[in-house]
């Protein structure tokens, strides 16, 4: 007799249940929508916060790193340089942080009803993508301003076409790393304390506030080993025309992302079945 479903203690390693997840696609879009309506309800500025967050961060970086520390920006206007870094970095860091807390934040829902848990991280990455697009337009606005006021150092080029690919890599990293951390925090809560600190540390290990070319040669290799670094550098190279870009490092990023994503999905799959017993 053919059963619709069989519940057993262990699942197959990479049983992703795509068919099941597909059935729940409406839920994914509703989570994304709900995320937007719920976040900014009862705030005075509402959706303006989407712009304010990267702007404030850029202003802060410009003052601290640009004016005081006088870090190099590869000859680019400081505001544009930081905004580019912040825009692409934020997409990763916000998706990552939220995915990393996915079990903790949703324990009450996960404890009461079953749906493919993978829907939740996917909806996080999707809703942050929308957020990214909004912030991206802000960045494009600034870019146009600098371009048309005749700043010669700003040179957007055809590499812009790689942007979707860059976003896929970032989303994959956020998902993979986030799922690994979230699976481990269900048992070892200590990790969630380290998370905020870890994300900040990672930002400094990524060329967000400095161009990779400003580094001494012997450190360059270490920063380039960070697979997120090429994504940020390529993004800046595409839109602003300066930055270290090579296909090799970009494919290195992509490869690392695939590995991380597989590990993440594997661990997530293992943990999602029983996490309610430990959380």
């Amino acid at each position: 007799m053919a059963w619709t479903e069989v519940i057993e203690p262990k699942s197959k390693l990479f049983d992703l249940k795509f068919k099941e997840a597909w059935h729940y696609r409406d839920l994914l879009s509703m989570w994304v929508k709900r995320d937007f309506t719920a976040t900014y309800k009862q705030t005075i500025l509402g959706p303006i916060w989407f712009f304010l967050q990267p702007l404030l961060m850029t202003i802060m970086f410009t003052i601290v790193f640009g004016k005081f520390a006088k870090l190099s920006t590869d000859g680019l206007p400081q505001v544009l340089f930081y905004l580019a870094g912040v825009t692409i970095w934020n997409y990763f860091s916000e998706s990552f942080t939220k995915t990393a807390n996915v079990f903790k934040d949703n324990a009450s829902i996960f404890g009461k009803v079953y749906f493919p848990r993978i829907i939740m991280p996917l909806s996080i990455v999707t809703s942050n993508l929308v957020r990214f697009l909004i912030q991206f337009f802000l960045f494009i606005g600034f870019l146009c301003y600098y371009k048309f006021t005749g700043n010669p150092s700003v040179q957007p080029n055809l590499m812009i076409l790689v942007t979707p690919f860059l976003l896929v890599i970032m989303a994959g990293f956020a998902l993979g790393a986030g799922m690994i951390i979230s699976s481990m925090t269900t048992k070892y809560r200590d990790l969630s304390f380290l998370l905020t600190f870890g994300v900040q540390l990672l930002m400094y290990a990524t060329p967000v506030i400095y161009p990779i070319n400003s580094l001494p040669e012997k450190y360059k290799i270490y920063v380039m080993a960070n697979p997120i670094a090429p994504v940020v550098e390529t993004f800046r190279y595409a839109f602003l025309g300066t930055g270290a870009f090579s296909w090799i490092s970009l494919f290195y990023s992509f490869g690392a992302m695939i590995v991380l994503l597989f590990v993440g999905v594997f661990i997530f799959n293992k943990v999602e079945k029983n996490f309610m017993d430990t959380v």
Partner: protein, 421 residues
């Protein structure tokens, strides 16, 4: 021939008790090491049956152990048992919220479970948005919800407020809306935890009516967990009784309810069989029997009262023998500590005694209770004491239209005088 909708084979679930989080890394390593060496899990083998009255020596407990049963299509199975019998664990495994430790469940048909109403409701969103959200969480597609939307709103009776954020709803409206979404799900198998314990009496009737509709007219399979025996009898066609995580009884809903209620009495008694030397006690006292039973009727409930009896053998002669009973509720609150002199003229004999106490009806609130007993001399020197001798449950009874268990340690009948000034 009827077909099988759910088949459960050898289902077990092991839970860790106490603190999780300290020392788990070392424990994990130990387990992992045992596994690669091909040994048994060092923590699993000491698991015990889930009996909360006696604190086990192990940190692991079998919340469910070797459960086997089948549910035919179109059947309504009532799952009953005391608190902690494993009902909720069984539902959680069936709803895929957690996975079994061993065993297998085979399911034929789409399954939807209602362990709570209104999961995923967001206070800031309107009734309409929440209906869609909640429906989607329960596995409905958008168009399915669209098709049922008017029925849902109509059933909940909130048409006028459908575009108002649910945080402005009264709690009754909130619950009605939440149940309505669930009531119009169209799964082949529906799992319902005691969600009927919400809303007013009229709405409860509506819910029970709706559930009957689902099973009788639409031919769907329903698994229903409840403490409400009347609801089990009227809704279900079969009954499954669980006890301490183990299978206890399976049969028609009537037989199951009868079995459950009679086992309630049995579990609330301790009778020693065999040699007196082996009975609990020491050189002073041997306890032979301790029972609690209803003063009125057959079931221990709020209005039945409790008669408790202890039979013991006393070895100490010519003392002032006394016995003290201590009743403890589930929250570890001592409800009373009270006793009596068995002999008060230094004239105790080497013989058996029976002490009977009577607690009047309508005194204690519903819930689980345990008896501790202390035998003493002159109310000063302890001769023998034993904790958790027996445990019993007082079942709840509605108070007016309110069928929920009310807060409070006692639930006395109080005469009120009302003065209108």
């Amino acid at each position: 021939m009827r077909e099988v909708a759910i088949k459960v084979e050898n289902l077990s679930k092991l839970y860790a008790l106490g603190q999780i989080g300290t020392g788990t890394i070392s424990r994990d390593l130990e387990r992992w090491y045992a596994r690669i060496m091909g040994k048994e899990d060092p923590y699993a083998k000491i698991g015990q049956t889930n009996d909360r009255t006696t604190k086990g020596s192990s940190d692991f407990v079998w919340s469910l152990r070797d459960i086997n049963f089948e549910v035919q299509k179109g059947e309504v199975l009532g799952i009953i048992g005391r608190n902690g019998a494993g009902k909720s664990t069984l539902l959680k495994i069936l709803s895929k919220i957690t996975s079994p430790t061993t065993g297998k469940i085979s399911i034929d048909g789409r399954i939807a479970s209602l362990l709570e109403v209104g999961t995923g409701f967001h206070p800031e969103m309107t009734g309409r948005e929440n209906i869609f959200m909640n429906g989607a969480i329960l596995g409905m597609r958008k168009y399915e919800i669209q098709r049922k939307f008017d029925e849902i709103v109509d059933f909940a009776g909130v048409a006028a407020y459908i575009d108002t954020p649910v945080k402005r709803y009264s709690s009754g409206m909130y619950v009605r809306l939440a149940f309505a979404v669930a009531a119009f799900l169209e799964p082949e198998i529906l799992i319902v935890d005691e969600v009927l314990a919400v809303g007013d009496a009229e709405f409860q009737k509506k819910c029970i009516g709706r559930m009957k509709d689902v099973s009788v007219n639409e031919g769907r399979t329903v698994l229903f967990v409840s403490h409400n025996m009347a609801a089990v009898k009227s809704l279900c066609t079969k009954g499954l009784v669980l006890k301490n995580g183990q299978f206890d009884f399976y049969g028609t809903q009537y037989d199951a309810v009868v079995h459950y209620q009679s086992s309630q009495i049995a579990s609330s008694s301790f009778i020693h069989e065999g040699e007196m030397d082996l009975a609990p006690g020491n050189q002073n006292i041997r306890m032979l029997r301790f029972q609690a039973k209803p003063l009125i009727g057959d079931v221990l409930s709020i209005s039945s009262g409790v008669q408790f009896e202890v039979e013991f053998y006393n070895f100490k002669e010519n003392i002032n023998l006394d016995v003290t009973f201590e009743l403890v509720n589930m929250d570890e609150v001592v409800v009373f500590h009270h006793g009596a002199f068995v002999c008060s003229n230094k004239d105790s004999k080497k013989s058996a005694y029976i002490v009977i106490g009577k607690l009047p009806p309508n005194l204690l609130n519903a819930g689980n209770y345990r008896f501790n007993i202390i035998f003493g001399e002159n109310q000063r020197f302890g001769l023998y004491s034993k904790n958790d001798v027996i445990q019993f449950e007082l079942t709840n009874e509605s108070f007016g239209t309110n069928s929920k268990t009310l807060p409070g340690v006692v639930r006395p009948e109080i005469q009120y005088e009302i003065v209108n000034l």
